[in-house]
């Protein structure tokens, strides 16, 4: 069969890429081979547009056991405990079918983590939806949230944190990023690298159906009269089967049966087999008629490209098959030896003894195209002058308006749909700066946070990239955790557009700078490009998942005020930066201007002193100042505790709006007992850190000078209103 231009295009390949394939094979590929190449050479698997730039990110520090390149990153948290984690996007499937798209996103990221031998202990997510007036937004929100809950709740892993944001740039392309975190014994980490020739390659888990065989299968259907039956179908998540797969894999991992293991994620059997063989410098031969199929008459093409969920590929040590099969039988899961490792360095696919495809492994992986795409620097916008003169709302009304706004509303409507406590180790839940999850049966914990700030990145990616790493770091510090490392999900538009490519490049540059300075490396992640439609791209949206370590469970903190009569301090200097803030967006409806600057030196110093205060038990509550500025941070401390505050701006030149709504970076608010004030001030002065004493806590009323005085209970009502009425 001749491969037409149309078929090449439907496989998402460019003409010159097809020529490169033919050159690597010394012949034209057949349809099956083309399908395999298209799966391996697409952006998702090959990172062809981002690879050159991702290399710049630091990936090591003294805690890192495994950086990017495996199913997930691994860090060492002492006592042979390792934490395995990764974030990944499931944007396009979630837009098409929000419930199943989000659910399978959660399922996929969980497999990445337990493939490495870790028991998943926490889930987080970052969700970006379109404008609330967009008619699709409401059903997408409902579908995605219940899909995430549906999967996580059923499998019994707590969803402990996340963010939900709305902006019109996501109207036609929502973002659903899910992060999974697992705990493993550092001496029992499993990798995907194959070792040894003639070892059994085993397929385990669910059967293979025609799920998610994208446009590619449409092309193949042209040659088949039964084309109706070959329409691509949406993947459906089966959390119950995943729970069985999880338990079965962890049971098998107790001894030394497994040489290597890889989850069948995107591009299923294709990418898992190629990945394992490539890393091991081996070949692999598969007998496709042995693949457990859900439907009759599935072709090798469909088997190789199916994205059916809840499946794994395992390479077993000699003689371990029978025992391994017993385990999978116990859990009612398929277990079939479908092939073996070879020394040919080729992927050989046979169907009923006939060779259907024969491709050098390198051609699919290391020889995949890498592009140095053209990119353009984003110009930094000028600061708007006299912003405050354009304010036509009172201070009080401005606060009300922000509390009622969708993006700043209380998100318990979302988080109550997730089981946050199952496994009984969640010490701090959603709505905090970071979640805290205890290591089971140990006196230590990890802190977890997911963050993004797309509007900063959109305005000036270099600063935005820096800022988002710092925000993650700050959120970990705020609960008393030592920040260890991050995972990132880079959601961008079309990289063939030099401006978008520039956003990606400069965001990475910004991230690199902050990661290096803070010794906060990237250990895993995912790049999602081509987010957008009809030349309308999404805002550049890097999402950072941060992990920190807490070595003493008695030295943690949260953002809720603890008692009345204690002192409130702002740590870090306030300059009153209003461009790109919640205030300028919600109140002034301004879109232009630069994001607040990041000063890495101050960032680190301020964070370290906060960490020190928490370790010395000097603070009752800590909250980082992020979007919404000091006012929103204070309100959250009050609203979430029911304890009021009486606040006055320090007497300096800044206007009230600038002081309270400005989003200058590297700042924290702390609540301290009066008796600790001298000690805290002494320490701050010794480190030359700027601070403002702005007031004290009081019962049930929130008050700012003469301009704002409200009952906490009423503020909570206001802040809870939007989701419940949407």
């Amino acid at each position: 069969m001749k491969i037409s231009d149309n078929i090449i295009e439907k496989h998402g390949l460019k003409k010159d890429e097809f020529q490169k394939i033919s050159k690597l094979l010394n012949r034209e590929p057949n349809l099956l081979e083309l399908g395999v190449f298209s799966a391996m050479w697409n952006e998702h698997c090959s990172y062809k547009s981002s690879k050159l730039h991702l290399k710049k990110l630091p990936t090591k520090n003294e805690y890192v056991i495994q950086g990017p390149g495996e199913n997930a990153g691994v860090i060492d948290i002492g006592d042979n405990d390792a934490i395995v984690f990764k974030i990944e996007s499931h944007n396009h499937p979630s837009f098409i079918e929000p419930y199943q798209g989000a659910a399978t996103g959660v399922g996929g990221i969980l497999r990445d983590v337990f493939t490495m031998g870790a028991r998943p202990i926490a889930l987080l997510n970052s969700l970006h939806f379109g404008d609330i007036t967009n008619k699709k937004t409401k059903s997408l929100l409902n579908g995605v949230v219940s899909g995430i809950g549906g999967y996580g709740n059923c499998i019994g892993i707590p969803t402990v944190g996340g963010e939900t944001k709305f902006h019109k740039s996501y109207n036609e392309n929502i973002l659903v990023n899910a992060m999974a975190v697992g705990h493993a014994d550092k001496r029992k980490i499993f990798y995907s690298k194959a070792r040894g020739v003639n070892k059994s390659v085993v397929y385990v888990g669910s059967k293979t159906g025609r799920d998610g065989i994208h446009g590619a299968s449409m092309a193949s259907a042209e040659f088949d009269e039964k084309s109706e039956e070959k329409k691509p179908t949406v993947q459906v998540g089966d959390p119950f089967t995943e729970k069985l797969l999880l338990e079965a894999c962890l049971e098998l991992m107790k001894d030394d049966s497994i040489i290597s293991i890889q989850d069948m994620g995107a591009a299923g059997l294709t990418s898992s087999s190629v990945e394992m063989a490539f890393k091991g410098g081996l070949g692999m031969e598969l007998d496709l008629e042995k693949v457990p199929c859900r439907e009759k008459n599935m072709t090798p093409y469909e088997m190789m490209l199916s994205e059916s969920q809840e499946r794994m590929l395992i390479i077993l040590n000699d003689g371990k098959e029978a025992n391994a099969k017993k385990i999978f039988d116990k859990w009612d899961l398929d277990f079939v030896v479908i092939g073996k490792t070879t020394n040919t360095n080729k992927l050989t696919l046979k169907y009923n003894d006939k060779v259907e495809a024969d491709i050098p492994i390198e051609a699919l992986s290391s020889k995949a195209p890498i592009y140095d795409r053209k990119w353009k620097k984003t110009k930094k916008q000028n600061k708007k002058r006299d912003l405050i003169k354009t304010i036509n709302l009172s201070f009080r009304d401005a606060i009300f308006k922000i509390l009622k706004s969708p993006n700043q509303s209380n998100k318990s409507w979302v988080t109550k749909q997730y089981d946050q406590l199952v496994m009984n180790d969640t010490l701090l839940r959603s709505g905090s700066d970071s979640a805290i999850v205890r290591i089971h049966n140990k006196e230590k914990a990890i802190a977890l946070t997911v963050d993004s700030s797309a509007n900063y990145c959109n305005s000036y990616p270099l600063t935005g990239g820096k800022q988002i790493v710092c925000e993650s770091w700050r959120n970990l510090i705020s609960v008393g955790a030592k920040p260890i490392s991050i995972t990132n999900c880079l959601n961008f538009g079309n990289p063939e557009n030099p401006e978008i490519m520039g956003q990606l490049v400069e965001t990475i540059d910004g991230m690199r700078e902050a990661c290096e300075y803070l010794n906060f490396p990237v250990v895993s992640g995912n790049v999602s490009l081509y987010n957008g439609t009809n030349k309308k791209n999404i805002f550049p949206t890097p999402v950072i998942g941060g992990v920190g370590l807490i070595e003493n469970l008695n030295k943690i903190s949260d953002h809720k005020f603890k008692k009345t009569g204690s002192k409130i301090l702002v740590i870090g200097k306030t300059f009153g930066h209003l461009d790109q803030t919640v205030f300028s967006n919600e109140i002034l409806s301004l879109k232009n201007g630069p994001p607040p600057e990041i000063n890495l030196i101050n960032e680190k110093n301020n964070g370290e002193i906060i960490y020190d205060f928490i370790k010395k038990n000097l603070v009752n509550a800590v909250h980082d100042v992020s979007s919404g500025g000091i006012i929103l941070a204070l309100l959250e401390m009050s609203m979430h505790s029911g304890i009021g505050a009486k606040i006055a701006k320090p007497k300096h030149s800044l206007n009230q709006f600038e002081y309270f709504f400005g989003e200058d970076q590297g700042r924290y608010i702390i609540e301290i007992d009066e008796q600790n004030l001298n000690k805290v001030e002494e320490l701050l002065e010794k480190s030359s850190i700027h601070y403002d004493k702005i007031g004290h806590t009081q019962i049930d009323e929130f008050q700012i000078e003469k301009d704002f005085r409200e009952k906490i209970i009423d503020l909570n009502k206001l802040n809870n209103k939007w989701y419940n009425n949407y």
Partner: protein, 224 residues
């Protein structure tokens, strides 16, 4: 005291319950659903989770498992049975407890800390004071308890309603009813009072670091 926790494929609070039981020095054993024999025990716990994915009706498939036949026999002999969340749903499906658990009135999964008013006149709650207000966590899709009003009346007369959703002052009314349950019912007993089914998770509140230790009273009541 000996306890047994039944594990179904899809159970996910089995470990949490076991941790709580261990804390109180129960001699606990985990039993897989395919087993046809139960170890000798004074307490059998059916834990929360999504047995068989809750795919047909919550608890329906687990109720048909081999081990459940043994649980029913033990129950008839007077062994104490505790079903939490999905375990409560399974007890309802087996007929050991009467009524039905419908979808929550807001049609959404609810995870929240809730206040409960305790009736202590039973083996499971005697360590609480009567009408004590405790705070436990709920996490379910189908916890909206439904039965006939005669049955509710009957249960009230016989003091078979062990827990009712309330506020922190003990007011029991619609405002403090998270899932739409009749009479704010959160947990009920059978007539012999040896079987307790409840939607809230006592095992989640056995640790001050998480929220409180309000759930310990239940396990320590069972203990002596």
């Amino acid at each position: 005291m000996r306890s047994t926790v039944i594990v179904f494929p899809g159970s996910n609070c089995d470990r949490d319950i076991a941790v709580a039981l261990k804390k109180l020095q129960f001699k606990n054993e985990m039993v897989w659903h395919k087993d046809s024999e139960l170890p000798k025990s004074d307490l059998i716990v059916i834990p929360g989770g999504f047995s068989y994915g809750d795919y047909l009706r919550s608890g329906a498939i687990a109720a048909k498992s081999t081990i459940l036949k043994e649980v029913i026999k033990s129950a008839e002999r007077g062994c104490l049975i505790l079903g939490v969340c999905n375990g409560f749903q399974i007890l309802i499906e087996t007929g050991l407890l009467k009524g039905a658990l419908l979808r929550n009135k807001n049609l959404k999964f609810i995870n929240d800390d809730v206040y409960l008013k305790v009736n202590n006149k039973n083996r499971f709650c005697k360590k609480y004071s009567n009408n004590q207000i405790i705070k436990l966590n709920i996490a379910h899709n189908e916890g909206n308890y439904f039965t006939s009003s005669d049955h509710v009346k009957n249960m009230q007369d016989q003091e078979l309603i062990a827990f009712q959703y309330s506020n922190n002052k003990g007011d029991v009314n619609e405002d403090y009813n998270p899932n739409g349950s009749m009479a704010n019912i959160a947990g009920i007993l059978n007539e012999k009072k040896n079987i307790l089914g409840m939607m809230p998770h006592p095992e989640r509140m056995t640790d001050k670091l998480i929220v409180n230790e309000d759930g310990l009273g239940l396990f320590s009541s069972i203990l002596n």
